[in-house]
């Protein structure tokens, strides 16, 4: 079976651990690649050559908005601007429900916007539903045919 990767762009180590825990509880076994700021996310997606860690494009990207260096919206803008990644499903996973963040995210082409619940039970439930939807139910774009 083809190897599947989830890219998690998240700077808060606690949130990273909580998401890992939530994946575990939901028996989502796909490999989770973590980029802890916008620059790392871009390096992972766009860096080519011998050092490139990118073996396969992620099935889905979970993207936090408030990130050090390059923020989430900018990462999203660059993902959509690049032929190789423009069709990748991007789910905004953030604490903010500021109207401006919602508007900007959808304007820049986010596929979904989920606010992280404080209650961990609800958080696990949200991750479960995201997993079912984006890893099982949703038909991903034909990545092989994406331009290079």
């Amino acid at each position: 079976m083809e190897e599947r990767v989830i890219l998690l762009v998240e700077d808060n180590p606690d949130d990273i651990e909580l998401i890992r825990l939530a994946f575990k509880r939901n028996r989502i076994s796909d490999e989770v690649v973590v980029a802890s700021d916008g620059v790392e996310a871009q390096d992972y997606l766009f860096e080519t050559g011998a050092n490139s860690k990118l073996r396969t494009l992620p099935t889905v990207i979970f993207l936090d908005l408030k990130l050090p260096k390059v923020d989430g919206l900018e990462v999203l803008r660059r993902i959509r601007a690049d032929k190789r990644t423009e069709l990748l499903p991007v789910v905004i996973l953030t604490s903010s429900i500021e109207e401006q963040d919602l508007i900007n995210s959808y304007k820049l082409g986010a596929n979904s916007y989920v606010r992280k619940p404080v209650d961990f039970n609800k958080f696990v439930e949200a991750v479960r539903e995201l997993g079912i939807y984006w890893l099982l139910l949703n038909e991903p774009p034909p990545l092989g045919k994406m331009g290079k």
């Binding site: 808060n12 606690d14 949130d15 651990e17 825990l21 604490s95 992280k116 404080v118 961990f120």
Partner: protein, 414 residues
């Protein structure tokens, strides 16, 4: 005889022809004299006309002199070479010079160096006939070197043939006004900065304060579930309390955020039917707890001018409060009505529930203030603070009356 003759005098005596001719001649002479007098009067009027014009000119000059010398504005007649020809007392006082000193100076001598060119440009346009008059705000320098702001209006005086004679300048001291303008401007930009800061703060609250809470709640639950075998009953209880507190704090943050959003919301005024709204909310409450025995009395036709969305929040909060605080009574009554206070229309929601002690009425509308134990009635104490903020934004007032176990009434005006 005498008597006879006296009788005869009463009737008009018959005139002889000669007498009549004399009389006509006499009348002709008098007519001629009258015509001559009339002509003389007409002549004399013509003769006195130049005198009257002179009089009018004198009057006009007198008026001008009075305005010039005693008027509330600084005034000056300025030569075409920008020399002060004539200045009034007000201008001297404004600039701190005597009349003798000032009439030895040129306009640029008393203007703030940075403002000289701008003024001269207008004087030249005026002289060239490009503009009929001009008005500018600029800075002048007093004799004691103090800077004042003035509002200057200048027009050109021409002689009878239309050739430029001199400038007439009117000067108003606007230093105080400028001072207030600057202060106002500073206050506005400070306010704007404060608002921006508040917005950034709200954003930070919504984003940054929630993340640690998620950690506290998540790892507590992970401990409870994944390490349950290594915890005793008390340990598990404590971890549950940690989670409960994290969730409570999350609720508080949410409520604070909503409250700050209310302040930033744009108020849209339209006609709102409060009676209709109250009925809809009442039936919604009843639907949620159909087992409760509640009598709603809702006054008809309470229409107001306000923001529909915000006023819905107000009624929802007041009616839910009434619903909540009557929960311990087997039957209860909630009334929405209209009354008057000091000639203003006032709306109220009255219940016959738990009520409150008037000694604590001041605390009622504060954010996160509660008058009842959380175990008696749930809630975080944000409802009335929200109401008050909305009503204040509408320019109205809120207040409350209550008595323990007799009920509470909440009033608001718009």
């Amino acid at each position: 005889m005498n008597r006879h003759s006296s009788i005869r005098k009463r009737v008009a005596p018959m005139k002889t022809k000669k007498e009549l001719l004399l009389e006509i001649e006499d009348l002709r002479t008098r007519l001629g004299e009258a015509e001559e007098t009339l002509r003389a009067i007409r002549r004399s009027e013509n003769l006195t006309e130049p005198n009257r014009a002179e009089e009018a000119l004198r009057e006009s000059e007198e008026r001008f002199r009075k305005i010039f010398e005693g008027g509330p504005l600084g005034m000056a007649i300025v030569g075409l070479d920008y020399r002060f020809v004539k200045v009034n007392a007000m201008l001297c006082q404004m600039l701190g010079y005597t009349e003798q000193e000032l009439t030895k100076l040129n306009v640029p001598d008393i203007v703030f160096p940075g403002d000289i060119d701008a003024g001269l440009k207008f004087y030249k346009q005026l002289l060239g006939g490009e503009i009929p008059t001009f008005q500018i705000e600029k800075r002048n320098i007093k004799k004691d070197k103090e800077k004042i702001w003035i509002n200057l209006t200048v027009s050109l005086i021409r002689d009878q043939r239309g050739a430029p004679l001199s400038f007439l300048a009117m000067i108003e001291d606007i230093t105080k006004r400028k001072h207030w303008e600057r202060a106002l401007q500073q206050r506005s930009s400070e306010l704007e900065a404060a608002n921006k800061e508040l917005e950034a703060f709200s954003y930070s609250v919504s984003h940054d304060l929630r993340a640690p809470l998620r950690g506290i709640d998540g790892f507590s639950l992970a401990l409870l579930e994944d390490y349950a075998d290594r915890l005793d009953e008390k340990g598990r209880d404590y971890l549950s309390r940690v989670r409960g507190n994290a969730q409570k704090m999350s609720e508080l943050i949410e409520a604070m955020l909503n409250l700050s959003r209310l302040t930033r919301w744009e108020l849209k005024r339209e006609t709102v039917d409060l009676s209709k709204l109250a009925k809809a909310i009442a039936s919604e409450l009843q639907k949620r707890q159909p087992e409760r025995q509640m009598e709603f009395i809702i006054a008809e036709g309470a229409t107001v001018d306000g923001d529909a969305e915000m006023l819905r929040v107000v009624l929802e909060n007041v009616l839910s409060n009434a619903w909540k605080f009557t929960a311990k009574h087997p039957t209860a009554r909630i009334e929405f009505g209209v009354t008057q206070k000091d000639g203003k229309i006032v709306y109220f929601v009255r219940d016959d529930g738990a009520g409150f002690d008037m000694a604590y009425v001041d605390k009622l509308f504060g954010a996160f203030q509660r008058l009842h134990r959380i175990t008696e009635f749930p809630g975080i104490g944000i409802g009335l603070a929200t109401i008050q903020r909305i009503i204040h934004r509408h320019g109205g007032f809120t207040w409350a009356e209550g008595e323990v176990e007799k009920g509470a009434t909440f009033y608001f005006s718009l």
